[in-house]
Symmetry: C2
Subunit: 232 residues, 2 copies
């Protein structure tokens, strides 16, 4: 992935000046790394990234001024080949999850040994993901929990299962914002037939109108390929 440039070009962003200096010295000691910048400001850091296109960014995500997570997102939107490793003092599952979600390629704790940091940089530079075993477990716990609730609510008896195939077709078109005429046109049936189906759908889903039907469908795992979301 990374083309040969001799040295890995690294940018450091950490609002703690002491820690920033420490990491910088540590990395500079490694002969094959080149620190192209080190700043305590996320905003300045992002500008430096636009300028220098570093290979790796070490980003502290616990900063007051600008949220480090937000910064990661901004960097990802630049669509460079820059890979971000999140630096944090906390092994909080939610933090890890959000950092990875926003595109971080690694997550390491400030308390970790310096050898770990070097290893992480090498791994990420090689195109891999670096997540220490303990953090990885936290991540997956969080990840799986966020779906467990979903599948639980899903089996609280899903009224969608009572729909006939045709009704599902109609509901699918409803969830795309179609009105009666639109659905009739797409299914080559009359508008009154659509009304019949829609009314049957209302009965089965125990709702009063199309908006509620659409919401029910969306909230109960109605096959909807267009959405793939998780709360931020």
């Amino acid at each position: 992935m990374r083309e040969f440039r001799g040295k890995l070009r690294i940018l450091l962003i950490d609002d703690n000046a002491d820690h920033l200096r420490g990491v910088k010295e540590l990395i500079t000691l490694e002969s094959n790394y080149d620190v192209v910048g080190a700043t305590t400001s996320a905003n300045i850091g992002i500008n430096l990234i636009k300028k220098y296109h570093p290979d790796i960014v070490l980003m502290d995500i616990n900063m007051p001024e600008k949220d480090g997570l937000q910064a990661i997102q901004d960097i990802e939107k630049l669509n460079l080949n820059t890979r971000v490793i999140a630096l944090s003092g906390y092994d909080d599952a939610d933090l890890i999850f959000r950092a990875m979600k926003l595109g971080a390629k690694g997550y390491i704790l400030k308390t970790m040994a310096s050898a770990q940091l070097i290893y992480a940089i090498d791994e990420v530079a090689a195109g891999k993901i670096y997540l220490p075993s303990a953090l990885s477990s936290r991540f997956f716990d969080y990840f799986q929990r966020s779906f467990k609730e979903e599948s639980n609510s899903a089996d609280a008896e899903n009224l969608l299962t009572y729909l006939t195939a045709r009704e599902e077709e109609v509901l699918d078109l409803l969830t795309q914002g179609n009105n009666y005429k639109g659905i009739a046109g797409k299914l080559f049936i009359s508008e009154t037939t659509v009304k019949t189906h829609v009314n049957n759908i209302f009965q089965k889903l125990q709702v009063n109108d199309r908006t509620q039907a659409v919401l029910y469908a969306l909230n109960n795992g109605f096959a909807n390929k267009r959405r793939a979301k998780l709360a931020v």
Copy 2:
């Protein structure tokens, strides 16, 4: 997590009888494992799980009869302390992602060395997640890609930003399935005022009716705490 029982109790499910036998022999060789069952049928396997409550299930997820992924989900719904490790011939990112999502605590390839399998069992039994580095990378690639599209579409100019605070309130109530009367009642304003707001919302979101407005809101990151979903 796991209480002391002397030996780890393991159940094997694999529709390939040869592979099943091979794995069984391999595991039986380990002195601290106890194979409590081995079957080529997912359905029988699930019944065995209900009966024996094994510590670990090795589940082949490429089976014709019953989808292994579905089986994982079924097992998770039992809410036992049984941990499932997915066995697969493929290192397909989507497969890995779905298996983990449904609650698998590990994922290993059939081509992997037997030592790996033993190691994975021990790790998972100890409460950890086992995902070989290569598969982990695939997982995260997939994971991050599924969010990338989202954030891209989110900044394609979000018409929601044009809404006033009041309009957002109204839209929020719309996304809960309220009609005019309901909204008017909840905001202590007249129904005609609500209509005005809703009409303004339509204009700003460039949609024709409430259903489309609700869909737009949901698909464009409208703060909606109730949904936290990913496509299956």
